[in-house]
Symmetry: C2
Subunit: 423 residues, 2 copies
C-alpha cells in the first residue's frame, strides 16, 4: 500500500487559537485513492526547519502534500524549502507571470512586485491552476511518487485538490475502487449504537466501519475497497443491509450531507405539510435549525420564543391557571404550547420545547436537564419527557433541539405509514 | 529561547473525521512558560514509526510532549516507543500497580490483566497522577530538557497538564512573566482592523500581537514577556492603551471569555432593560444567541420568528398594505417588525431582522445578502441596511445575527452615555 504524509505550513497554525483543518480534506482525497496517511505535521515559517522536514518526509512517503506558504510575502517559504529539499532550482515561469498579470488587470488592481514570487516554479514542476486565488499549486514527480504544493486558503485548496491534484495523483497509485455507504442516526447513545451493530460489522475487515458522534447525532461509515465498483457495492450491501435493518427508523438518512432538518423539509414538502414552533429553553434554536436550508419558507410558518410566562399566555393562549397549577415546565404546558402554536400559525404541525436548561433551576421531580417536548398534528397531541443528564446548558439545549426535530420526523413518518391520519 | 514539539498519537487522528485539538491546550501552556512551539505532528499506532519520530524530535526540541496512546490495549504504544527512543527500559512500578488496583476496587469493577500495562514506567520517569482516569502520565528529564507523556482524553489531559506537568516544566525553563491583554471586536473587517491598528503594534516585538477572526467576530491578543509582572503589565499598557483608543466602541469587551450576548446581558441587567426580537431570515438565531447564557430570562422576553407574511401581520400587527407597498425586505417593514415586537412583548427594546439570506431571492435594488436590521427603544426607532456580499446562506445569517446584536449593544451604550433618553 502506498503511504502519504502531509505538512501544513504557517506559524499561525502553531498558536493555541488556530488549527489545521485543511489536512482533513486532503486525507479524504488520499483515502479515495486508497493511500494510507502515516503522518501529518505542522511547521512554522522557518525555511531551514521546513527544508529538513520535507527532506525527511520524502524518504518515508510515496506522496507528500505541502499545504500553505504559497503567498507573495517573504514569510511564504514553501516554494524555496521544497526546492531546496529536492536539490532543484526555482525558475520564473513566463506563463505563470502572464497569468498573474492578466488576473490583476482583470481585477483592475495594481500588481505589487512581490506577487511575482508566485510565478516561480520548482524545476520539473507542473503548475496547478488556482481558480480562486493568485498562487498556483505545483505538482512534482519524485523518485518514490509525487510531491504536491497546495495553497492554504480552504476555498483555493479544495478546488485545486479535487480538480487538479487528485487526477494527477491517480497516475502514481495502483487503480482500485472505493465505495462508501453512510448512515446518520439520532435518538440513541454512541455505546448503545455500538452494542447494536458491532455483532455485524466486526465480522468484516472490508468494508472498514467507523462510528462517529457529535451531540445527539451519530454517523456510521462503511468503506469498501475492491477491484471493481460492483464488487465494492456488493460488500456494502452484505454489511450495510443488516445494519440498516438493525437501525430501523433510528437512521434518519443514508445521505451523509442531509441533516435532520433536511429530512424534515423533504417529508413536509412531499405531503404539503407545514410547521410552527413554540420554544422556551431552546430559545429559538429549533426554529433556526428548521430555517437553515434555503427555501424553508415552503414549510416553516412561524416560531414563538415565549420566554416569559406572560408571553406564553398572550402569544400562545395558554391559560395562566394551567401554568399556575402545573408550572411552565410540565406536560400540560408543553401540550398547550404546541397546540397554541398550531392554532396561532395555521400550520399542519407544531412542536414545543419547555425545560430546565440549567445551570440553575429545576425541581425535585424535574431536575435541571429535564425537558418536555410536545408535538401536535392531524393525529393529535403527544408530549415526551426527557432528561439530559449533564446540567451543561449548551449541551442540554443542543440535545433538546435535536430531540424535538426527531420527534417531528418520526411523527411525519408514522402518518406517512398510516399509523396516524394522513397529513 | 527554549523550543518545544508535540506529537499526538492515534490512528483515528489520521482519518478525515478526527482532528487533534489537545495540542491547543498544550500550546497555551508552553506559551505561558515562554517556550516556542516549533512543530507538531500526528502519528498512528505504529511502534517503529513513532520511535523514529520521537528520537528525531528529541534532537531538535528542549521539551517534547507526547499525547495519547497510554491506554491498556496492545495498540497503545507510546510507553514502548518513548522508552525505545531514549534507549531505556520499561519497569513495572509497584506503586502504580497498587494505585490501579485500588482504583478498580473503589469502582467495584474487575481489573483486566492488560490494565497492568499502565503501571509500567520508563526508567528514571516520574509518574504523573491522573485525577480523571487510569493511565498515569510520565515526566522524564532528558539531556536537552524534558519529555512528558500525557493521556489522550481531553479531561484527563487538561487536569494533568495544569496540575502536574506545568509545575515540573517550570524547572527546565528560565523564569519569566507572561501577561496577556485581549480585545473582542465586531462591526469591522479583518483587513480594515489591521490597517487601523498595525501602525501601533508593528512598532513592538514585545508584546507579540495576533489578530484572529471568525465570521463577524475579531480578536486582538497582546502577549507581553518580562522579568516581572509589573514590567509585563507596563508593556501591555504602552501598546494596548493606544489600540483601545483607536478601536473605540468597535471593541465590545476586553474579557476574552465574554461573547457579544454576554455584554448585552450585562448592559440590560444594569439598567433593568428587557428585549424582544422579531426575526425573518435569521430564523431564531438572534433569540438563540440572547438566551445562550444562564439567567437570560432576566432580560429576554420573547422572540417572534415571523417567516410568513401573514404571521408578520398577525403576530406583529404589521398592516398588510405596508408589506404590499414596500415588500417584506424593506426599511418600513423592519421598523414595523421591531415596533410590533416591542409593543406585543412590553420589552424596553426590540430588534428585528428581515433580509434575503439566499441562495435565491432578492431584487435589483436589494440583491441576495441584503438585510435590514431594525431597533426600537426609548430613544425611538432606527433601521440599518447592510449587504453581506457572499450569497452564502449560513454566512449571511451568522453575520446578520452578529450585526443585529451589535446594533442593540451600541444603542444601549449610547443611551447609557446620554446620547438617547435613559433606559
Amino acid at each position: 500500500m502506498k503511504v502519504a504524509e502531509i505538512i501544513a505550513i504557517g506559524t499561525e497554525l502553531l498558536t493555541p487559537q488556530r488549527i489545521d483543518t485543511n489536512s482533513l480534506a486532503v486525507t479524504e482525497s488520499l483515502n479515495v485513492l486508497g493511500v494510507e496517511l502515516i503522518r501529518k505535521q505542522v511547521l512554522g515559517d522557518d525555511r531551514e526547519r521546513l527544508t529538513e522536514a520535507i527532506r525527511a518526509a520524502l524518504e518515508r512517503a510515496h506522496i507528500l502534500i505541502l499545504i500553505g506558504g504559497l503567498g507573495p510575502t517573504e514569510d511564504d517559504i514553501t516554494r524555496e524549502a521544497a526546492a531546496a529539499a529536492l536539490g532543484r532550482r526555482l525558475q520564473l515561469s513566463l506563463e505563470q507571470e502572464s497569468v498573474l498579470i492578466n488576473r490583476f488587470r482583470k481585477l483592475n488592481r495594481p500588481m505589487a512586485k512581490n506577487n511575482l514570487r508566485q510565478a516561480y516554479l520548482i524545476e520539473g514542476a507542473e503548475a496547478l491552476p488556482n481558480a480562486n486565488g493568485t498562487a498556483p499549486g505545483q505538482f512534482i514527480s519524485t523518485n518514490r511518487g509525487a510531491m504536491v504544493l497546495l495553497p492554504g486558503p480552504p476555498r483555493e485548496l479544495k478546488a485545486m485538490l479535487t480538480n487538479e491534484a487528485l487526477p494527477r495523483l491517480r497516475s502514481v497509485v495502483p487503480p482500485q475502487c472505493i465505495r462508501v455507504r453512510s448512515f446518520r442516526i439520532t435518538g440513541i447513545g454512541e455505546s448503545d449504537l455500538d452494542t447494536l451493530i458491532a455483532p455485524v460489522y466486526t465480522k468484516y475487515a472490508n468494508p472498514v466501519t467507523t462510528v462517529l458522534s457529535s451531540p445527539g447525532d451519530l454517523f456510521v461509515h462503511l468503506r469498501a475497497t475492491a477491484e471493481t465498483e460492483e464488487k465494492a457495492d456488493a460488500l456494502l450491501r452484505e454489511v450495510g443491509n443488516p445494519i440498516a435493518t438493525l437501525l430501523g427508523d433510528k437512521a434518519y438518512t443514508e445521505n451523509i450531507n442531509e441533516p435532520l432538518e433536511g429530512v424534515i423539509g423533504r417529508l413536509l414538502r412531499k405531503h404539503h405539510g407545514t410547521v410552527a414552533v413554540a420554544e422556551s429553553c431552546t430559545g429559538g434554536m429549533v426554529s433556526a435549525r428548521l430555517t437553515e436550508q434555503g427555501g424553508s419558507s415552503d414549510f416553516f410558518i412561524a416560531g414563538y420564543v415565549t420566554y416569559s410566562e406572560a408571553q406564553k399566555s398572550k402569544v400562545l393562549g395558554i391559560p395562566p391557571e394551567l401554568i399556575g397549577k402545573h408550572g411552565v415546565v410540565s406536560e400540560p404546558v408543553a401540550a398547550a404550547m404546541a397546540e397554541g402554536a398550531k392554532r396561532h400559525s395555521g400550520a399542519t404541525h407544531a412542536i414545543s420545547v419547555t425545560g430546565y436548561a440549567g445551570p440553575t433551576g429545576g425541581t425535585d421531580f424535574d431536575p435541571v436537564g429535564t425537558v418536555y417536548i410536545g408535538i401536535t398534528g392531524p393525529a393529535g397531541t403527544r408530549v415526551v419527557r426527557t432528561r439530559f443528564g449533564s446540567g451543561d446548558r449548551l449541551r442540554t439545549r443542543l440535545l433538546a433541539t435535536q430531540s424535538a426535530l426527531d420527534l417531528l420526523r418520526k411523527t411525519l413518518l408514522a402518518s406517512e405509514n398510516g399509523a396516524g391520519s394522513a397529513l
